[in-house]
Point group: C2
Chain length 332, copies 2
């Protein structure tokens, strides 16, 4: 019999459909391995075709927007939001609107067109995380902005329009609905129990050991109890930490578990398209006892999302306990 | 400059990205026109290959599960939930689960493989709506069930695995998160204003006349103020009505506006894949003054859903006022 499971943070229910039980090989999606050829605006030599860089990691001997970089952050050429202008809000009867002040940036993770976050040197993954952190710290100073969403779309099916590996950030004058919901729910749990709900989940998962994929000194990766999609995977700091930041000024442990998780997914699901999102506390509430930052990685394997995001109701044909086994056994 | 808009019912914000402003011809998605050929379990003559029918519309001279029907409702062959068994709930530390009691049914809308809801005779559309209503009324009697989600996935990209036109329903032992949120939000508005928020929106839309696509005697179709996707369209009863039901025992006006809307979408977007969902009050609160049933139709045009449903945050490149113009001008 199928099982209904509730995610304790968001309150959403999912159906774990065991009858439809699917193995990794049942998911046919185009492998996201890099192809060569064609013009790429993110490749070295084409720096002039992007908007001018905001920051880059490059030797002091090279100039901005020229070759020699190892990582670049540039404004999105077709930004969803604009950094210029004052924030103004207005109502129109029952409706609320504001102008689209914010930022939309692209993190070009490596100059090498053939690499991905899973295959680049570990040190380069650390650099990507530092770039996220630097941009977040900088955008935080802008009093108009309330939240920065950092995310990655890997593969065309997951919404990426360019093959060259990159992440994005969108800085917003509002706190997005799902972040607000997670914060409210975690706060409520804390008021009731005086414990962080994520810390409780981590302790329970470590002691049950049915959904823990991997842990290193500082982080663990799990298949969440009520995953929306097959092989949904979360990475969380083991110690309470409310906002995305480098513990002891190092991202090495986080880079290690992030890259390992992406390699496991690549191995088990043949380089699937995926999205990941960094879930972190809003600026105004950066340090708190109730919210626990984490990354949610979602391989894009099923096509039913249309109905599911319309109803807030998910059918998942792969139990997370099964997904965990496949992930652990992956020879990476 | 882009605009941020808030949906007053769900509280979600969307970015209306005017710089990225997209016209209908910018959306390239495979046309969902029917192809012939190949075995189809929903075609007449193949009744024995589906699970036995729950109800069908057919002449009295024909037997169940044989030819001669004009509409059939059958249990889904791979159900997400099962009708047998007692509902049992249990906890596992911080987690909640229950067994998957419920129903998952398929409404085969016509015997003709070449037709769609947009192209079938209007009378057949009415029959589809009656089938929804009969099944809803029947499932309501099962005290284990709290909600019935009625939806349609049109086209493979929208999650449909069979080309022959059909809708689905899932009967649930819980009220889904998005339904609960909409109910709570509408109730709060009512407590504050003693008016239905949907009624207020309808009045405002009719008087502003910027986003009204069409109205007949009983219903109107609009592009919502803060649409998640280009050409998202809602159909609502003009008079307050909390649950999906036939006014004056007739679905003719609703069939007319539903089919017209689907024809407009087919014309403007070249038969796009789409999802629609009927939003209606839960069984236990079927008649109320604050919630207003409606249908949300969502063409599946963009690929960014992965990030967007992960963050609850939407970027829409087509302002609803533009979409309304295209829809109104469609020669159907």
């Amino acid at each position: 019999m199928p099982e209904l499971r509730k995610d304790p943070i968001s309150g959403r229910w999912v159906i774990i459909s065991i009858e439809r039980g699917k193995r990794p090989s049942d998911f046919i999606s185009p492998s996201q391995k890099r192809r060569a050829g064609g013009f790429c605006p993110f490749c070295p030599g084409n720096e002039h075709t992007t908007t001018p860089e905001i920051i880059s990691f490059r030797p002091a001997s090279t100039s901005p927007n020229s070759q020699g970089w190892t990582l670049r952050v540039v404004p999105n050429k077709f930004p969803a939001l604009q950094i210029q202008g004052e924030l103004s809000k207005k109502g129109e009867g029952v409706f609320d609107q504001m102008n689209g002040v914010g930022a939309h940036e692209v993190i070009i993770e490596t100059p090498d067109h053939q690499l991905s976050l899973a295959t680049m040197p570990l040190r380069a993954v650390e650099d990507v995380l530092w770039a996220y952190f630097f941009r977040l710290s900088d955008l935080k100073k802008d009093f108009r902005l309330k939240y920065v969403l950092i995310f990655k779309n890997e593969g065309e099916i997951a919404g990426s329009s360019l093959e060259h590996t990159h992440s994005q950030l969108i800085a917003l004058p509002i706190v997005p609905k799902i972040v607000k919901e997670e914060m409210d729910s975690a706060k409520k749990y804390y008021e009731n129990k005086e414990r962080c709900i994520f810390c409780d989940i981590i302790n329970q998962e470590l002691s049950a050991d049915k959904r823990v994929i991997y842990e290193n000194d500082k982080y663990l990766s799990i298949s969440p109890f009520a995953p929306r999609e097959p092989f949904e995977t979360w990475i969380l700091p083991k110690q309470h930490e409310s906002s995305f930041s480098p513990p002891d000024k190092s991202f090495s442990s986080f880079a290690e578990i992030l890259q390992r998780t992406l390699r496991q997914l690549d191995k088990v699901l043949d380089s699937p398209p995926y999205n990941f999102i960094i879930h972190t506390s809003p600026f105004k509430d950066e340090i708190n006892d109730y919210y626990h930052w984490h990354v949610e990685i979602m391989p894009k394997l099923t096509k039913t999302a249309g109905f599911e995001w319309g109803s807030g109701f998910y059918i998942n044909p792969t139990p997370p306990e099964e997904a965990t086994k496949y992930m652990k056994e992956a020879k990476i």
